[in-house]
Amino acid sequence: MLKELFTKTTKKKKYATIPSETAKQDVPEGIMTKCPSCKKIMYTKELVKNLKVCFHCGFHHQMNSKERIDSFVDLGSFEELNNGMISGNPLDFPDYEDKLEKDRLKTNLNEAVVTGTGSIDGLNVVVAIMDASFRMGSMGSVVGEKITLAIEKADELKVPFIIFTASGGARMQEGVLSLMQMAKTSAALKRFSDHGGLIISIMTHPTTGGVSASFASLGDYNFAEPGALIGFAGRRIIEQTIREELPEDFQTSEFLLKHGQLDAVVSRSDLRETIASILEIHQPGGINRWQEI
């Protein structure tokens, strides 16, 4: 019901919002997009068709949860779970509720993660997709709880759990409750894993702080999109602490691969196929079939 309320409001307000800073720049927002990497300008529609990967330099533009679902899950198979859940203001943080409200209107989402059931190449999964356009994808009680419920759903259905991470980390406005979501989600993954559940984590730009230090890193398979920023502490804090300049590629997907943290860096165009093939290999029952060969 709440969702309906918000959706309605959103629809009304969606086109009435004042153009943002970026929109006022040299490129007309919406129709054209300027690649932040190679600075070339291209049609947004074409870019979206190309999974938001730059035609010229291969830069992976951020995807929102809707775009991700459309491009990753089998057409029409996605059914959302718990989408009406919204955050409270446990610490009575000033302006927090306003900020949430603003982001709900801006993004047409109720929180920074969308979860649901669906299929990839016909194989059933539960999928959770974080959306950095809502509060920078930060994790508060709702994000933690929705992800935990999604893991429990995967456990109940005995299907793999796939998560796309995109997050600035813990949500400061929810204080220690936010911190504890790291433990809650990790505990759910541990239980699911002990039941033999398959966990696939796909880290997208940016995956940092408490999210990288919990479920994002706990996949049986950890993947990342090219060029994503992934790390625990912020670059500036590290530089200040160690009084050293960090290498250019520090905390990128490629840096993590080199340092043993990822199974592979997978470009968006290969992602669906790669995940489908891994799901296929993990179809249960193989161990009992050797005699049949």
């Binding site: 894993s193 033999g196 398959l198 890193s217 049986d220 398979y221 950890n222 691969l257 080199k258 340092h259 043993g260 943290q261 990822l262 199974d263 592979a264 790669t274 093939s277 891994i278 296929e280 290999i281 993990h282 179809q283 193989g286 161990i287 009992n288 079939r289 050797w290 005699q291 060969i293």
Partner: protein, 325 residues
């Protein structure tokens, strides 16, 4: 032919002579067919003499042959849908070991192997197939994953040894090898190991605690390289040939010592002479191995492995002489 080894030179020279004679007859009226026939008979005899009488040191040379097929050569031919997994999730991704998931005759498996390079550039990247601790930790991570998802594990062994370096010691080379022996002993899924080249000491064994250990005919497996043994035993690395004979490092030796289950035959002169045939030979042994291990329960498969290693070793007891048990 490029890459001919010292011991097979007489064969190579005779073969060359025959082909020269053939070329010659094509441009002349002289009939040399009787002569050629005689030489061919001699060649066959010589081949039999040399290849059926391969000395341990010759096998060492074959096992080290730069063109000898590597883990990835066999992986790409034996399996489908191979997906390589990188990293130990701790420190790095050691390219001296490759591993991942794949399908073998349509069923899921985890496959891991030491990986040498084919040229200097690749060899530098892969550290000549000599792993650091992170290589062994990656391998263990993939084995635990195989156990979780209940698929058999296949290991290809092909290394001169674990890398003897400063960084390797700092990060716990010993611990990494020891941990693999410990954890592999407890794996609840079948583990089949195949020595495809050199089996160099602990660095090889760290992928080698299996239910079955097979060896390609010309591969070697030893506690130390022949050069190393010679330098320790006789303070003279040039005695490597003698050490190779003394140390009993060939597949037939190890079969006799009860370490190895099956010897997988190679093409004449070595696996590099006929990759397709080698793949077929491995396939036959590997499939039979996995089939025979597939009926075991989790407990039984661990017990089977335990008993295999329990049986290795030779000793007697003084108690027999003094009449006590």
């Amino acid at each position: 032919m490029a890459g001919d080894l010292e011991f097979e030179k007489p064969v190579v020279e005779l073969r060359k002579k025959i082909s020269e004679l053939r070329d010659y007859t094509q441009n002349t009226d002289m009939d040399l067919s009787a002569e050629i026939e005689k030489l061919e008979a001699r060649l066959e005899k010589l081949e039999n003499e040399i290849y059926e009488n391969i000395k341990p040191w010759d096998r060492v040379q074959i096992a080290r042959h730069p063109e000898r097929p590597t883990s990835l050569d066999y992986i790409s031919k034996l399996f489908t849908d191979f997906f390589e997994c990188h990293g130990d999730r701790v420190f790095g991704d050691d390219e001296a070991i490759v591993g991942g998931i794949a399908k073998y005759h349509g069923l899921p498996v985890t496959v891991i192997g030491h990986q040498r390079g084919k040229d200097t550039k690749e060899n530098i990247r892969r550290n000549f197939g000599m792993p650091h601790p992170e290589g062994y930790r990656k391998a263990l991570r993939l084995m635990k994953q195989a156990e979780k998802f209940r698929r058999p594990i296949i290991c290809f062994i092909d290394t001169k040894g674990a890398y003897p370096g400063k960084a390797a010691e700092e990060r716990g080379q010993s611990e990494a090898i020891a941990r693999n022996l410990f954890e592999m002993a407890g794996l609840k899924v079948p583990v089949v190991c195949i020595v495809i080249g050199e089996g160099g000491s602990g660095g090889a064994l760290a992928l080698g605690v299996g239910n079955h250990i097979h060896m390609l005919e010309n591969s070697t497996y030893s506690v130390i390289s022949p050069e190393g043994a010679a330098s320790i035993l006789w303070r003279d690395a040039s005695q490597a040939k003698k050490a190779a004979e003394t140390m009993r490092i060939t597949a037939p030796d190890l079969k006799e010592l009860g370490v190895v289950d099956e010897i997988i035959p190679e093409a004449r002169g070595g696996a590099h002479r006929d990759l397709e045939k080698q793949v077929q030979a491995i396939d036959q042994t590997l499939l039979a191995s996995l089939k025979s291990l597939s009926g075991y329960s989790e407990e039984e498969i661990i017990d089977h492995r335990y008993k295999k290693y329990k049986l290795i070793g030779q000793y007697s007891s003084l108690n027999e002489y003094i009449g006590v048990n």
